[in-house]
Symmetry: none
Subunit: 188 residues, 4 copies
Amino acid sequence: MPRPRSQASRTAILAAAQALLSEKGFPALTIEGVAARAKAGKATIYRWWPDRASLAADALLSATFQPIPVPDTGSAREDFRRHMQLLSAAMRRDFGQQLLVALACTQENRDLTVAFRNSLWKSLRLALAPAIHRGAAARQIRPNVYAEVLFDLLYGPVILRFLTAPETLTPDYVDALCETVMTGILPA
Amino acid sequence: MPRPRSQASRTAILAAAQALLSEKGFPALTIEGVAARAKAGKATIYRWWPDRASLAADALLSATFQPIPVPDTGSAREDFRRHMQLLSAAMRRDFGQQLLVALACTQENRDLTVAFRNSLWKSLRLALAPAIHRGAAARQIRPNVYAEVLFDLLYGPVILRFLTAPETLTPDYVDALCETVMTGILPA
Amino acid sequence: MPRPRSQASRTAILAAAQALLSEKGFPALTIEGVAARAKAGKATIYRWWPDRASLAADALLSATFQPIPVPDTGSAREDFRRHMQLLSAAMRRDFGQQLLVALACTQENRDLTVAFRNSLWKSLRLALAPAIHRGAAARQIRPNVYAEVLFDLLYGPVILRFLTAPETLTPDYVDALCETVMTGILPA
Amino acid sequence: MPRPRSQASRTAILAAAQALLSEKGFPALTIEGVAARAKAGKATIYRWWPDRASLAADALLSATFQPIPVPDTGSAREDFRRHMQLLSAAMRRDFGQQLLVALACTQENRDLTVAFRNSLWKSLRLALAPAIHRGAAARQIRPNVYAEVLFDLLYGPVILRFLTAPETLTPDYVDALCETVMTGILPA
DNA sequence: CAATAATCGAGACGGTACGTCACGTCTTCTT
DNA sequence: AAGAAGACGTGACGTACCGTCTCGATTATTG
């Protein structure tokens, strides 16, 4: 019976990877750097992770994500608005950086698309789901609105602006965005 | 006073970069590869581009972008729907690949955010602007809808899905998205 | 703890360096050339030799130097004369080339002065020592002549001519040189 | 009718070359460095000198050499001894550095052997000639001693030691050397 | 006194080699 | 067996110079 995998080593490697990611970002995450910082051998890393994208994804996902709260004010409109304001604030902090790492990972290793969909994106969508259901139940949301589409309508624009023009991701923009999502663009 | 910059060299370098980008993608764009393919010296590339991200951006932007048509059917609703269907189709072809290159560039060199905003994104926004203005003039769009926000509402979700779950970017999804953008999510 | 140094690699690198030195001389000894010829990585060379001068010195010294014979005729005068004739002949062959390499090495890396003094020059001096001792024991050499000085008197002029006017390093010159060393320049 | 060669440029280039040689030695003498320092174009240097060795030789030889004095004490023995002491002292100063440059030049460009033989070495031999002739005339030197050989016997050992073990080039060594050259090594 | 033609500065160009870094694989000893 | 340490071949990095080649600006004759 072989010696089992060393949990101490695994933990140290993931911690080192997280540290490098948050300090210098994805391009600075080298296997040699992680090995040196974690006092691990390179071969140990290669034994358990196929490439640095997988390691980064693992490090990112095993970090304790600070979930973005979804308030429950009784008004779906207000719930969404406040949540999006919190999201855009988090974007300017560490959440944006983490998002960049996630996108970089999926570009280096297409297999990770599924992993992230089943973890990061799933949890984000799940977090918003209760508010959507509350709104539907309270007849504050039209019944034929898909939750998937609604999530994309809220997160898509914010992420697009973050990627292409982060300094325009202002509270006023977020308010205008939410307002337009609520009422649509057709005349009354 | 010195010999002026060689346009032949510049053209060959950009062509080589474009070829490598479309053949193997951004990670395969090495300076040495471009130099070899363009029969240029590495120093010539470094003389004119600070890093490979800038070179990639230049190659991308000097390529003839195939603009996504915006039909003029008389109905803003239908104009947007058809444009988004064309966009999602282009995403599955080369436009998605180009988008990935653009995002990769801005992650490697933050200065390029501005460059892309003033070229790629500006032209995309401008392309949609006439349809928006037509809709507003024809009172098919509520007057207090910002063009910026409307663009984000259409492009943001499509790009988000392309990045995180490209196989779900179906025509049905695009129709549902446009419908929701038009009518909003509030009950009638 | 790590994998020990590969002797195969070390040998191949030194052999490649020797080959380049004897084929094209010191200026043609490039690290990349050695690496290519030895099928080794550049990093492996830099790991073990600080610069190309050290590598050249190592290659030179680990080559099997053909020692210049010192005959034993019973006459110190004749021993020296014949040895110097052999030396000047060797100079015109490969020994002169090797000497140039040695001098080039010590000019590029001053640390190598000591290395060569303790190897190449030491062995040359040692080779001559027995003949000197024989001559002294047989009272064919005045007792207050230093071996160090005698060596310099024989080798210095030959090397000087080799460096500055190699085609004048003729047998007649060597004979005249030895004769003058033996009897001095003062009148009888 | 054409414009003649600019002497100002020639002078500036040689001055820059001399400065670089004495500051950092032959390996630091790059064409680009000389051009920058002399505010000259690279092509101007290549137009008038075939390679850097020729430029270095020209710079060296057009510098005002400080000749090593040859005293006239009435005793050839003493004249030689004092001259050699002055020579070994100069070796430790700039003359040694200049000698190294000269040797480096002839190794890079064999054609320069003749140039140096006709300038540097000729002037050194000529400087010693009067003392030799005085000694011969005064019957302090045996008549069948060749001036060429005598020069080599004095300079060869000193240069050999300078190249291989400069710190052993002491006044005592020089005295012992001269003594042995005078009286030879045979027993009285 | 222009006209003119080689010279000059500047530096762009295609190259070669530099010395460094990280890759992913491997071999060794230690735990 | 698993792990640390790190040597190995490989390949790209960004830099320094090479020697050649335009450029426009600068002169010292000569028509």
